[in-house]
C-alpha cells in the first residue's frame, strides 16, 4: 500500500498566516523609520535598533526558541521604540523593551496570551519609572548626526535636561494655550515620540495594512471616528479644554496607536461588536484624558484601560447563534 498522509479537513487554507501578518506590520514600520530619521536624525535608528534588539534577546532568554520565528517579539520592541521620546537615554529604551517582552508578554504565556499591549505596557513602565525623561521633548530637525545630549548617558548617572527642549502640539495646547499649524502635524515636523509625528505617512501605512488585511479595519475606524465625534462636541462647548477635531486626530500618539496599537489582535476583542466597542471606548478615553486629565496625552492609558476590559467585552458581545433567539 502506498504511503498516504492522513490529515483532517479542510485541505485548503487562506494564504495569510500569522508570521506573515507580523512581517507586514514590521515592513510598514520601515517608511516610518525613514521619516523619523528625517525629522529627528540618526537617534531614531539607534533607539529602534536598541529596543528591537533588546526585545529579541529578552524573548530568547525567557522563552523557548520556537516562538522567535513568528516575529512578534521583534515587533513589540520596534513598536516600543517608536513611541518613546527622541531624547530618552538609550538604556532606558532597552530597559523598557526588556520589561515589555519579559513581563508584558512572556510572563503571561507568550504570543496570544498577554492581556495588555506589551509595547504600551513597556512605555507605561518607563513613564512611571522616569516621568521626567519621558516627558521631555527635543525639537525636531536639529541636524541628522546631532544626538540629544542624554541619549548615550550611562544608566543611573544623573541626567540633566537638555538646553533645547520643545513642546508637543498637545503640550503646547494644554499648558500654554498654543495651537500648532495643522500642516506641521500632517507633515510631521513637530516635537513628539519618534514614530508618531508624520500623520500623512501613518494614514498611508494604515491603508496599506488594511488592504493587506493585516488587521481588522473596524478597530482603527471606530477609534478615530469616536475621537473626531467627541472632540467636535467638546470643542464646541469647552474650546479652552478640548482642541478641534483635526488637531485631535493629527497630534500626539493617536494616529500611530490607531494603526499599530488598537489593531493588535491579541489584546483587543474577537467579536465584531466588541471591536466597535473597543474602538469607541478608546476614542472616548483619549479625548477625555487629553481634555480633562493632568497629562496632555492619554492614548497610552486609553488603550491599556481598554485592553483591561477586553475579556469582559468579549464575554458580553458573544454573537447570537444562527437560528437562535435575538
Amino acid at each position: 500500500m502506498s504511503k498516504l498522509l492522513l490529515v483532517s479537513s479542510p485541505f485548503v487554507r487562506d494564504e495569510r498566516n500569522t508570521p506573515q501578518l507580523m512581517r507586514d506590520v514590521i515592513g510598514s514600520l520601515v517608511p516610518i523609520l525613514i521619516m523619523s530619521m528625517w525629522v529627528f536624525g540618526v537617534i531614531a535608528l539607534l533607539m529602534v535598533a536598541v529596543t528591537g534588539a533588546t526585545a529579541v534577546v529578552t524573548e530568547r532568554l525567557v522563552t523557548s526558541k520556537r516562538s522567535l520565528h513568528d516575529g512578534s517579539a521583534l515587533l513589540t520592541g520596534l513598536l516600543l521604540g517608536f513611541v518613546l521620546p527622541p531624547g530618552l537615554p538609550l538604556w532606558m529604551g532597552a530597559l523598557g523593551s526588556a520589561f515589555a517582552v519579559g513581563l508584558g508578554k512572556a510572563a503571561f504565556g507568550g504570543l496570544g496570551a498577554n492581556i495588555f499591549n506589551p509595547a504600551l505596557l513597556g512605555r507605561a513602565f518607563l513613564q512611571a519609572a522616569f516621568p521626567e525623561a519621558m516627558t521631555t521633548w527635543v525639537a525636531p530637525q536639529m541636524g541628522f548626526w546631532q544626538l540629544p545630549e542624554r541619549s548615550l548617558a550611562w544608566p543611573l548617572m544623573g541626567s540633566h535636561v537638555d538646553g533645547i527642549s520643545a513642546a508637543t502640539p498637545l503640550g503646547g495646547f494644554k499648558f500654554q494655550g498654543l495651537t500648532t499649524d495643522l500642516s506641521e502635524m500632517v507633515v510631521g515636523t513637530t516635537a513628539g515620540s519618534l514614530g508618531e509625528t508624520a500623520t500623512w505617512l501613518l494614514v498611508l501605512c494604515g491603508l496599506w495594512l488594511a488592504l493587506r488585511k493585516a488587521f481588522d479595519w473596524r478597530l482603527p475606524v471606530s477609534t478615530l471616528f469616536s475621537v473626531a465625534l467627541l472632540s467636535w462636541v467638546l470643542h464646541a462647548t469647552v474650546p479652552e479644554r478640548c482642541a478641534d477635531p483635526m488637531t485631535m486626530l493629527g497630534s500626539g500618539g493617536l494616529m500611530f496607536a490607531a494603526v499599530f496599537m488598537v489593531t493588535d489582535p491579541v489584546t483587543t476583542p474577537v467579536t465584531a461588536k466588541g471591536m466597535w466597542l473597543f474602538g469607541f471606548g478608546t476614542g472616548v478615553l483619549v479625548v477625555l484624558i487629553r481634555s480633562f486629565g493632568g497629562l496632555p496625552e492619554g492614548v497610552m492609558y486609553a488603550v491599556l484601560l481598554m485592553n483591561a476590559v477586553t475579556p469582559w467585552i468579549n464575554r458580553f458581545t458573544q454573537p447570537r447563534v444562527f437560528g437562535g433567539l435575538a
Partner: protein, 434 residues
Amino acid sequence: MVLIASAPTFSHGVHPADQKARSATEPIGRMPFVREYSVPLRQHIGAASEPIVAVGDIVQRGQLIAKRASFVSTNQHAPVTGRVKAIETRPHPSGVSVRAIVIESDPFSSQQMGASGPRSDQALADSVSDAGIVGMGGAAFPAHVKLSVPEGRTVDTLLMNGCECEPYLTCDHRIMLEHPTAVLEGTAMIQTALGAKASVIGVEQNKSDAADVLRAASKGSVSVAQVAVKYPQGAEKMLIKAVLGREVPVGKLPLDVGVVVHNVGTAFAVHEAVRLGKPLIERVVTVSGPAVSQPRNLWVPIGTPICDLLAFVGLDQLDQYIVISGGPMMGQAQKNLQAPVVKGMSGILVFPAAHQATKEYPCIRCGRCLDACPMFLNPTRLWLLTRNRDIEALNQHHVQACFECGSCSYVCPSHIPLVHAIRMGKKLVREAQV
C-alpha cells in the same frame, strides 16, 4: 466584497478559490467496469442494510442485494453483473471498516440491466426507497425519508440545491447542464410528493450557464435563484437563508420553516428511478485536485475501488499524496484506496502532501474565525473549551450547532485545526449526554 456580492447569500462564510474551471467543461464520461466491487451495507445515515444474497450467488446489474433495515436505511443493488465473492468487513471511505457485499464482475457479461420498467410516481417515496436513493450532495441521508411530510406539518417550498459550493467539484454542475429536463422532472415529482406550492433551484453564480439551461428548459414551472459564490452556500440552512430569507431555528430542521431541501443530483436519480426503473447503482464523481493532470467527471458504478478510479485517470503512483473523498473543505482523507466509491461521494481529489505542511502558531485572537462562521459561533472559544473539556460551557456556546464546514480552519492565520477540535468537542458533549 459587499459591493461585488449583489446576489442573495447568507452572512459570514469564506471565499476559497473555486478551482472548478479545471473540470467544469469536461462532459461526463464513463468509468469502465473493473474486476471487483465492494458495496458497503452502510453508505448512508441510518441502519445498515441487510443482505439478501449469499456468497456464490450470481447477481445481475441492478438486482436488489440488500434491503433496508428500517425506515431510515436504504436498499442496495448490484452495480455489476457477476458473482457474490464474499460478504465481509471491507475498507470504507469513512475510515472505519464496514461489512460489504463483494462482487466479482463477469467479464463476459454485456452488463445490461435487468428489465424492470418504469415505476409509479404515485407513491414516490416507495419508488425512491426501492431504488436505494440517498441524498447525493454528500450527507447521504435516505431520500425517501425526506419525501413524506409528517402528519400535521406542511411544506410550502421545495428548495433544490445546485450550489455545489465546495471547490473543485463539478458533478452537480455537469448534471444540470447535460440533463436539465431530468433534473426538472425529478424536481416536479418531489414537489408533488411533498405537496409543496413552489420549487426553487438555487445555483451559485459561477454556474450561470447551468442556471440559464434550467431556466430555458423549465419554461417557468420552476424558478431558478442565482446565489452568490461563497462557501458554504450549499449548506441547507445557508441556502434557505439566501433564497427564502428564513432562518432555521437552532437545533431544528428545514421542515420547521416549511422547507425541504434536496440536491439536484438526487432529483436526477429520482427521475431515473421512476421513468427508467433504474436503481442507484452509479453516480457522477469529479476526479480532480492539483495532482490530477486531466480532471474528469465520470459515471462511476457504486463499489468501484478508489484506486481503480485513480488508475483510470492516470494516477497509480500515489506515494506522498493526500487522497480526499468529497470536497477539500469538508471531505475526508483516505487511508486505504481499496475503499469503494459510495452513494454520497461527489468527488475524489488528489493533493500533493507538501500542500499540508503547515506549522501551527498560537492563537492571536484576531477574530477571523468568528467572522467566517456561518452559524455565528465563536470557534476559537470552542477550541479552548474543548481543550479544557468544559462540557457545560461547550453547550452554552452551542457547539452542536456547528455543521463542520471548516470555514474557521480555512481562515485561521495561525493554522489551528479549529474545526477538528470542535468535532472533538461535539463528541465530548454527545458522550456526556449518554
